[in-house]
Symmetry: C2
Subunit: 131 residues, 2 copies
Amino acid sequence: MEINPIGFVRNSAEEKTDWETLISELVILPEYEEGLYRIEEMPEILVIFYFDRAEEIKMRVHPKHDHSIPKVGVFASRSPTRPNFLGITKVRLLERRANILVVKGLDALNGTPIIDIKPAVRWDQLDKSEK
Amino acid sequence: MEINPIGFVRNSAEEKTDWETLISELVILPEYEEGLYRIEEMPEILVIFYFDRAEEIKMRVHPKHDHSIPKVGVFASRSPTRPNFLGITKVRLLERRANILVVKGLDALNGTPIIDIKPAVRWDQLDKSEK
């Protein structure tokens, strides 16, 4: 099955960094800008991205590369070393500028292909006061 | 970018149903069974699957097919009518039997390809009493 980028990550991370405070821009391809309609009302979104610098698949890993935590299966971890190189992170949506979403907390390197974006909460559960 | 199934959904849903109460089996390919190691300690998991019966892409949709809710962009919805046909659902993990995970609440039809599985909570935040 073929998947294609809907956009790319733009940030200052060329290697592992303090992801929680990192601000990133999600630059969405112009042909998909209409798909962002009203997303700015969402306080949090899920970003699905492709680990384009992942190279190997391991069936057992230490969670968070922390060797003090015993190994678990890769599907019980968020490690990039998985059969399909997909990452999913819930991020704070700070601002939308046309086809660009400004987010906080994305753990993806500069240039990472974005595969999909989904709301983190349901519309009927959205607390408007949050935004 | 190419993605491949790690397994398939087995359940009674040949069409839309009451997903919240539906029990499904995630039948993982034998070569990936080791990647499930210790996943049974997780009370909830994320299932990433492929909408293999989706046919069209729409940039604006009514959330949950509910016409009483005004249209939003597809990336502000969970609709299958998206550029990459990926669905993500958090489900309750009831049981693991070797390469089979028994889950509750998956909104995917019988035979749906499974692309990935991830923990819904971090290992260091796992409340062992939940399971």
